[in-house]
Symmetry: C2
Subunit: 157 residues, 2 copies
DNA sequence: GGTTCTCCGACCTCACTGGTAGGATTAGGG
DNA sequence: CCCTAATCCTACCAGTGAGGTCGGAGAACC
């Protein structure tokens, strides 16, 4: 159940943008790539996903770069990871049937209504999405600043 | 964050064994493969993982097969999935540092104490393990027996 | 006009998943 | 005793996607 580096790099990119959110001026990918030690060309493709999802804005040309489209407190990580990974599903047949009627995996058809494993994967998916949704970018930015604090359950609002 | 078919097939195999747990006699892989429509040779490798983890026992020779090593109520799915997938980690650097001192991913070293993303992945991992641990094999077996909406005849024979 | 950026698509390599093949080993049954 | 049914075990193989590179085209600022 491993996330790819898209999620890892993308979140770190967001954190970096969040640190400069107050500045107003955009941050170039080159600066981020150097600060985080990540391949620039690869970051370009990753940030494109975030832009398409409306999480970041871009300014082209010299002194251009990227900045957050919203304030860090309102950016929840489920949205970010969904944009980066395409889908948050424990099994390949779980594209995103959360709202659909009855999207069943192929091996289920002969079993009538939903395989037993589906119950399991649904619970797992729920756990992941919940964990992601409860974490905001602002939290990660703050954690980046002073990592000593062991954040327990700060999502009480 | 997709599980592989090892987890899918392995759990379905366990469910099938759970259905015949009361019988006492072992179930052959061939029977399971035919019942579930899965490749026999592939199942052999999967069940080997479950055996190594002590979840199932085997009897060799004619009329042999596999049976659960414990009763279904005491088999929690975190143990099963861990045996099948090797590790339940959201990121590659998360082998299993839950008990270790400070296993940090390589890109973290220069940031002092834990990257911001680690906080995120820890929460995700916690959510997944919790969801898995809260589900027992007995639950899945029961769910397999009588699905919520009986649109068709369930396979009870 | 050159520099610095974002943008965009093609390309490449490598590991791993998913599955197969072929056997050796063990146990029952005639 | 052989034959058959089953577990075991290792090697192999094709496809795919992850992870990353390259080259270039457009856009803004000096």
């Amino acid at each position: 159940m491993i996330f790819t580096t898209k999620a890892e790099y993308g979140v770190r990119l967001l954190v970096e943008l969040g640190r400069h959110y107050e500045d107003g001026s955009p941050v170039s990918l080159k600066a981020i790539a150097e600060a985080e030690g990540l391949p620039l060309a690869y970051l370009e493709r990753i940030v494109a996903l975030l832009k398409k999802a409306g999480l970041v804005e871009s300014t082209r040309g010299a002194h251009g770069g990227y900045r957050l489209a919203r304030e860090p407190q309102s950016i929840h990580m489920d949205e970010a990871v969904l944009a980066l990974e395409g889908a948050v599903a424990p099994m390949s047949c779980f594209v995103d049937d959360s709202a659909e009627g009855g999207v069943l995996c192929s091996h289920v058809i002969d079993h009538g209504q939903g395989c037993a494993t589906k119950l399991l994967w649904m619970r797992v998916q729920g756990g992941v999405i919940k964990a992601l949704a409860q974490t905001t970018l602002a939290e990660l930015v703050a954690f980046h600043g002073h990592p000593v604090v062991p954040a327990r359950e700060p999502v009480n609002a």
